[in-house]
Symmetry: C2
């Protein structure tokens, strides 16, 4: 006998987790599609050379990537994100696809990281991008997609924090710290999670003076209305930040006129994303009710997506929803509905000789858009009703030969154990009245 | 520069392929859910020991499986189907999940096979099963799901061919060939694809007499109404086949009473599925318009799903839709719609200063359930309209500051290049009138 088990850091998705995951994915897809983004998919396995590109031998991903020799002795690996495969894809087909090109991509990625609570070695990413344009209209659209996405996921308290790399670079230039920009931004990226003291400590290591560190941290902590924060930085740093400030003002204006409530978008000079490749607008999204999980949707503008694979410059802007991370957080916080079925009603199999009739009734209800499960065995009604309750069904249908002769069934509300004799002709409406309320 | 390319036997899914793939998956999910089957997912990577079980060292899968050592020096592999992971899953959680347990599972699997037209080393499988019951009602339900699934996929000419392993075993017993059953069934499984001559040749190799081979092939080719075929085999083989005949009769009766047209289900004593583990009902599904691609949905009843991992017997019945194979066949036969967008209408960006207004109009249409893309740059209208045509949009919206002041836009039908001035208040209905017709 082989012990049934999963690998460390991997997990199964039983119905109770998979139903909400599919709901999250469905919602995300609907929003992307409503903006005209089509889906793409790429293989899980790629040449390692493609995935790792010219990455530092010491980079974390080098240790995390699942890499091996395939049957043809090729050096292959499992994708560790969806960005690199998209860069390869874009370089390979840009001539055929043309620009601008928008797409979403939802799928699993693999990283052999040390496992932590809520983090797994296989997890879904959910990316959306517009490439082949430098227009600020595209940056604003990504902000709108994030807004409509997080709203559609059911959250009504959230803020999309926006910044611009050129502002960060401009103000570091204005402070005479341009040569230390990379170190400073890498440290600053830890501000939300680890707090100002940790960041200040790293600034000291990077040989910033006390005064410089204070200036940077003060700017990062600048609060007030978006207009106040942008005015302050524009006044203080002038031409160093003018272009970035104008872009952010334009983005806020577009989103405002498009109908996004003003409080949703917050200029935050303290967000900078660790990744080197962002060059303009930066987004992070925080939930008012789940601040501890960090940004659930992050991204920004980049100058060149696919420079490793093509000479054609592909500027773009996009973001990524942390789908499984969000799901794991909702699971831990017990925010997920407890249901093991996607259907609305269970038909109790009172009499094995009537299975054809039960399935006929079920198929009529299905044709009316309802989900209907028939219990497969003619066990005692109590056993079948217990099954229905354990799956989270609100309703059950019971009928014997006598009822069916009269074209009626008993519709049972499981919570109250009450039954109503219901004509078949009105059954779909009667079930829907309860199913919709759920 | 690294050459952008995929591994041999792997493919990308651009929007033109991914939109129909998502449509197939959506349709399948809707049908499974309408029967109360919830989804599950399992990891792509598992212990090799779990996946290969006690398989022959010479089995084909042993050569095809992607197997390697992970960071913790574990012997791991990519799943090559969804059946083995489901068996492991069922054994691991059956105590918690209880029985009966129904589920669907849609996801990629990997096999390093020799590549052929329409077959890839990464492809989606789509499985649905009921376990924990021996009731014939479950077998009938799988037939109903197959029927509703293939109908919902848009095919109106198809047959679900049904057989029963106990009938096959019974008639081989009746012919005194019980000891050669495995060889005979393996050969018989090639009947549809390779024809009776090939099968007869293999029968001779397996030391069947000319007369025995003819008897088996005659039975496999038996045609007539379902009742005629079943009566014939019942008369000829009596108690050898009585149980299997009764099961098939029961299944046909349930499906008929449930409303499935009689011609959809065809008793075919010639189908037997190569896999050893089927023990009862067997299904194969052939499309009238695509007979060359073989069965697109196959399965059957098994006595014991997870005997490798648990002592608890888990009998069940299920089937698998060959999703990517169906898609590849439809692609080759040019049955796929040529569209690169999931949206209904493109808004031309006539004036960059109006992006906020365009997005406001777009968001109003989106709230009305429509998909609306805004072109990201204020390029010449001709360029933007060419983009719209290349993506397959039927409609474009054009508006300058003057139009917006009057709360109207120009709604352009791309095929006819005609434009109608349309008030914003009626825009959603005007777009929907065309979008729905598509």
């Amino acid at each position: 006998m082989i012990e049934p088990r999963t690998l460390k850091g991997f997990r199964d998705y039983p119905p109770e987790l998979m139903l909400p995951r599919e709901a999250l994915i469905d919602t995300a897809r609907k929003v992307f599609r409503s903006y005209g983004y089509p889906p793409i998919d790429t293989p899980a396995l790629e040449y390692t050379e493609i995935l790792l590109g010219k990455m530092d031998a010491g980079a974390e991903i080098q240790r995390q990537i699942y890499r091996f020799k395939d049957h043809g002795d090729r050096d292959v690996a499992l994708r560790f994100d969806l960005t690199v495969p998209f860069a390869r894809f874009a370089a390979q087909y840009v001539g055929k696809l043309g620009t601008p090109f928008k797409r979403y991509h939802i799928g699993p990625v693999w990283r052999g990281e040390n496992t932590q609570k809520g983090r797994y070695r296989e997890f879904y990413q959910c990316d959306f991008d517009i490439i082949g344009t430098t227009a600020n209209a595209a940056d604003a659209e990504i902000a709108l997609v994030i807004h409509d996405l997080v709203s559609a996921l059911g959250f009504d308290r959230f803020t999309i924090r926006v910044n611009n790399r050129t502002i960060l670079n401009g103000l570091l230039g204005g402070l005479g710290l341009a040569d230390k920009a990379t170190d400073i931004l890498r440290s600053l990226d830890k501000l939300a999670k680890q707090g100002p003291d940790v960041v200040r400590g790293e600034f000291t290591t990077a040989e910033l003076s006390e005064g410089q560190a204070t200036q940077v941290l003060n700017l990062a902590a600048a609060r007030g209305s978006n207009a106040e924060v942008l005015d302050r930085v524009a006044n203080e740093f002038g031409t160093h930040v003018a272009a970035g400030v104008a872009q952010l003002r334009g983005l806020l204006d577009i989103c405002g006129r498009a109908g996004v409530p003003g409080e949703r978008l917050v200029v935050d000079l303290g967000i900078c994303r660790g990744l080197d490749y962002y060059t303009g607008t930066i987004f992070e999204t925080f939930l008012g009710d789940l601040p501890g999980i960090g940004s659930i949707c992050s991204g920004g503008r980049y100058d060149d997506l696919a420079g490793l694979y093509t000479k054609q410059k592909l500027p773009g802007v996009g973001a990524s929803l942390g789908l499984d991370r969000l799901l794991a957080a909702m699971e831990e916080l017990k925010l997920l509905p407890k249901t093991g079925t996607p259907a609305d009603v269970l038909i109790v199999q009172s009499d094995a000789a009537l299975v054809g009739d039960y399935q006929r009734i079920a198929r009529e209800l299905r044709a009316a858009g309802l989900g209907v499960e028939l219990y497969p065995d003619a066990k005692k009604p109590g056993v079948q009703l217990q099954y229905a309750e354990s799956k989270g069904y609100p309703l059950a249908i019971l009928a014997g030969a006598d009822e069916l002769k009269q074209n009626v069934v008993k519709l049972r509300t499981l919570a109250t154990r009450s039954e109503v004799v219901t004509p078949l002709a009105g059954l779909a409406d009667a079930v829907r009245a309860v199913a919709v309320k759920r």
